[in-house]
């Protein structure tokens, strides 16, 4: 097992080099002037393009620029993000907990609802509930995140005034800013609020999570639902299920202990992709709901040609994918005892 984990972790530097090299080469498709133009925010600076190229050495050969960047990375410096106005590493440290908080709140309904509805659909194949579930999954999967997000915002914020965008209400923004009595242990606001004994802040933070979580859940759970349904249908037709039924086991036991457990294996594989989907999804969702996580930062960085931030986000995402896949592989062993790692 340890050898397996070590071998998978050794992939990290390979992925790192691959991703960063690809992005570096993509960036080189832009001329030094085009890259320097990203620093020029007004006509007042337009006569200084050459100086900016000199200052940031944008006309060096790509391998020198890449080598310089790698040299900094080795020292733990991923560069400076012009969008967040601070080092990339610091931005990731500051913003990742918010995204993780959102993802953790979302992953439970995504997987839970997906498995539950997929199971219900499979057990009621071709019945009304199955048809409804299938229609819902197609609608959910094909609905663009930004459309759903704006609909929810207009209805629950604009019309009903129940739920707000952002991470926390203004009264807490001003109260918590520079407040030495509120300590940030995890930078996940719901968790920190509870650790500080501030149930009011916790409730407020949860309220702000509802709409983005629904937005993420609808799209992602539709995928889980479809895979769970087909996988369970497949499992239900297997000989061991028929045998279990023939032995006289109750239907619920057969479904839960025999069929569903085996049907979960492709769902677990998919869960790794769901995590990636969530990270991709937060780029749009966080922007719509003004939720200050990594996704919002990445969207701003991409539109502002923030080279260091784009690279940093891509590297971080790639690392997350490798780790997520590793966790999925390890989960296989838990779900299916036949799978062992040498």
């Amino acid at each position: 097992m340890l050898v397996f984990i070590a071998r998978r972790l050794l992939l990290l530097p390979v992925v790192f080099i691959g991703v960063t090299l690809a992005l570096q080469l993509l960036m080189q498709l832009l001329t030094p002037y085009q890259r320097a133009g990203a620093y020029v925010q007004s006509e007042q600076q337009m006569n200084r393009l050459d100086e900016i190229i000199t200052l940031y050495r944008l006309d060096d050969p790509w391998y020198l620029q890449y080598g310089r960047w790698i040299g900094q990375v080795v020292q733990g410096n991923l560069g400076y993000s012009r969008v967040s106005r601070q080092p990339v590493v610091q931005t990731i440290i500051d913003r990742f907990p918010a995204t993780l908080e959102l993802a953790l709140f979302a992953i439970i309904p995504v997987i839970g609802v997906g498995i539950w509805m997929g199971t219900a659909a499979a057990l009621n194949r071709d019945k009304f509930i199955d048809q409804v579930t299938r229609v819902m999954s197609i609608v959910g999967w094909s609905l663009p995140t930004f459309v759903l997000g704006i609909w929810l915002l207009v209805i629950f914020y604009g019309w009903l005034g129940w739920l707000q965008p952002g991470r926390v209400s203004i009264r807490y923004v001003t109260e918590l800013a520079g407040n030495p009595n509120f300590r940030y242990y995890t930078k996940m606001l719901t968790v920190d609020a509870l650790l500080n004994g501030r149930f009011d802040v916790f409730v407020d933070a949860v309220k702000h999570l509802i709409l983005p979580v629904i937005t993420l859940s609808v799209v992602q759970s539709a995928q889980i639902m479809r895979v769970m349904r087909s996988s369970l249908l497949d499992a239900l037709s297997q000989d061991y299920v028929r045998t279990a039924k023939a032995k006289g086991l109750p239907g619920r036991v057969v479904t839960r202990k025999h069929a569903r457990r085996n049907a979960l294996i492709p769902v677990i594989t998919l869960s790794g992709f769901v995590l990636i989907g969530l990270i991709n999804g937060v780029v749009i969702t966080e922007t719509i709901f003004n939720y200050p996580g990594l996704g919002q930062w990445a969207a701003q960085a991409a539109t502002n040609l923030d080279y260091a931030a784009v690279l940093g986000f891509a590297v971080f995402t790639a690392m997350m994918v490798v780790v997520a896949n590793l966790l999925v592989d390890l989960l296989y062993g838990v779900v299916d005892p036949r799978i062992r790692y040498a």
Binding site: Q34, V40, Q44, T54, D94
Partner: protein, 579 residues
């Protein structure tokens, strides 16, 4: 019990938010986060809107009046006869947010720091260079900077006749400027807390280390995130999605009415609109005027706009008087042969006048600004000293255009025709539309006249215009300080900021610009700039595009707002209150 707890929690979660902003807090939702809190590097609206409230300058604007200056950290000043020495008396007992007291050493430090960092992305490099150092070199090449600028020059920028802890500061210029007080209102000339800066690891203010700070990357330095100004508000928190500031209790001007300021950066416009409708924002910034239809008449929302309000940005269609025609696809053959234009095409006055008569000024206001705009008689904001609104404006008149084209180049243009491409930066629809209107109207004049319009990515556009390859292009300027010279010299001076792109060389206009630069009396200067307005009509050095009338969207309980276009936030936070 468990169910009851869940019900309470659910109730709390779904309770109507009723999240009106508290009365002691002002929330502005906008886009464009600050780049820095360091006045020496800030050159964007996002940074300016914070810096102008936490730092102060020696003189400032009188409310919404952009041509009236009132004492701020200085109480008065005198100027020497040659206009090179300004002596300021500093306000007594002014505290920085750190608790330090402001004296001459802080003024000295602030100006010296701004001059020596000379950051090419910063605001004050070119102003400090011109007026205090006599060079336009910046810090991107420290060796070249040191070759031209000595420590003695830096040291001489400000002197303290009564010693560093005195309250007299003397500014020593190398080039006089009748607009110096206006220039000093620019936030780049904010007074920094020298003790705070030095203690935090910024430049130590000595000649031993000054060279280490030339062109330095200030984003990693102390003042980038840790301001200590004298303003009515002090920075509490700056994250990349919000700025929180709190009233400074020891502010010399008295406590402001609003205790907390929150700037929330929300990229999604629909979210901002919903927020002001719901009362979660006291003010929002909109991307475009068209969105106002969603807000007019909304309960509790006020759309503020007045006929006298004008922006301090001017967009113009520029003529290139000496086009580089080599390997230049935008001028066709580069000859006056019907398939291109020659290098000096726009040097012909008839050509410039003809093109001015192809642009429908009022039609542009009506179609692009929905009627809410101002036609400019000359290329500067109408609210500036010397703006001449008695001058006629050349606008759409196809007969006049034809007449001028027939006269151009001794009739050769009319006979042979021409073709060229005008440029704009992609995504800027206002510039694009201005050029397209001209191109469309040109088609009615003569089938041999062909003008294309194409957009380029920003950086390509800048480099192409800088190489003088663009025969005609649309660009703009936003005021750094409220003085006509900031526009007239920039656009029309033979040696101005735009001259590398236009090669402009109009002797009559130049003579008046040079004269106005030497005169300090406002009335005389106004007269001269009005003369330039008259000459602008006659000589057509460029086509000034109408400006859009500004507006503000606020909650109706916000009091004390005004519109001063020189402030990045249009008004100072200390002047508003909420009821």
């Amino acid at each position: 019990m468990k169910r009851r707890s869940l019900a309470v929690l659910a109730g709390a979660l779904l309770a109507v938010a009723a999240a009106q902003v508290p009365a002691d807090t002002y929330v502005h939702m906008l886009f464009g986060e600050p780049v820095t809190m360091d006045p020496a590097r800030a050159y964007d609206t996002g940074s300016g809107s914070v810096i102008e409230n936490i730092y102060e300058t020696l003189y400032s604007y009188n409310g919404e009046a952009i041509d009236e200056f009132v004492p701020s950290l200085a109480t008065d000043y005198t100027v020497s006869e040659d206009g090179l020495t300004y002596t300021f008396t500093l306000r007594d007992g002014v505290k920085f947010h750190s608790g330090n007291t402001m004296t001459c050493k802080d003024v000295e430090y602030s100006f010296q720091y701004g001059a020596l960092v000379a950051h090419p992305e910063g605001a004050i490099a070119y102003l400090m260079g011109h007026y205090w150092l006599g060079t336009q070199i910046d810090g991107s090449d420290p060796a070249a900077f040191q070759a031209e600028v000595t420590w003695e020059m830096i040291d001489n920028i400000v002197t303290c006749p009564e010693g560093p802890d005195g309250l007299v500061a003397q500014l020593n210029l190398v080039n006089p400027s009748p607009a110096l007080i206006a220039i000093l209102t620019y936030p780049g000339f904010s007074i920094i807390d020298s003790q705070w800066a030095i203690a935090g690891g910024s430049w130590d203010g000595t000649p031993a280390t000054w060279t280490e700070w030339i062109g330095r990357d200030l984003t990693q330095e102390f003042l980038h995130r840790n301001p200590s100004g004298t303003g009515a508000y002090q920075l509490v928190e700056w994250t990349d999605d919000a700025v929180v500031a709190r009233a400074f209790p020891d502010y010399w001007g008295g406590a402001p009415a609003v205790q907390n300021i929150v700037l929330q950066y929300v990229d999604e416009q629909s979210t901002r609109i919903l927020a002001v409708q719901q009362g979660d924002a006291d003010r929002i910034t909109l991307n475009e005027r068209a969105a106002l239809v969603q807000l007019r008449g909304a309960p509790g929302v006020a759309v503020l706009e007045e006929p006298g309000w004008t922006t301090t940005s001017v967009t113009s269609v520029f003529f290139n008087f000496d086009i580089d025609t080599s390997n230049n696809e935008d001028v066709g053959s580069g000859q006056l042969d019907g398939n291109g234009i020659p290098a000096n095409f726009f040097s012909d006055l008839n050509i410039r006048r003809a093109f001015a008569h192809l642009f429908d000024q009022q039609g542009f206001v009506d179609s692009v600004y929905d009627g809410a705009g101002v036609v400019l008689t000359m290329p500067m904001p109408p609210s500036f000293l010397g703006y001449n609104d008695d001058v006629a404006v050349r606008t759409i008149d196809l007969e006049a255009a034809e007449q001028y084209f027939r006269a151009a180049f001794g009739g050769e243009v009319w006979e042979k025709g021409f073709q060229f491409t005008a440029l704009y930066n992609s995504g800027n629809t206002i510039r694009q539309t201005a050029l397209e209107i001209i191109a469309e109207n040109l088609e009615f004049i003569n089938p041999k006249f062909r003008m294309s319009v194409r957009g380029l990515p920003w950086a390509d556009y800048l480099s192409r215009t800088a190489e003088r390859k663009a025969p005609m292009f649309a660009l703009g300027w936003a005021a750094d300080y409220a003085d006509p010279s900031n526009f007239i010299n920039t656009f029309l001076d033979n040696d101005g900021y735009y001259s590398p792109r236009t090669a402009i060389n109009l002797s009559e206009i130049q003579a008046i610009i040079d004269e106005a630069d030497q005169i300090f009396d406002p009335a005389e200067r106004a007269f001269l700039y009005r003369e330039i307005g008259t000459l602008h009509y006659d000589q057509v050095p460029l086509i000034a595009v109408p400006t859009q009338s500004p507006f503000m969207v606020v909650r109706d309980n916000v009091q004390g707002t005004y519109y001063n276009p020189m402030y990045s936030g249009q008004f100072l936070w200390k002047d508003i209150s909420k009821n």
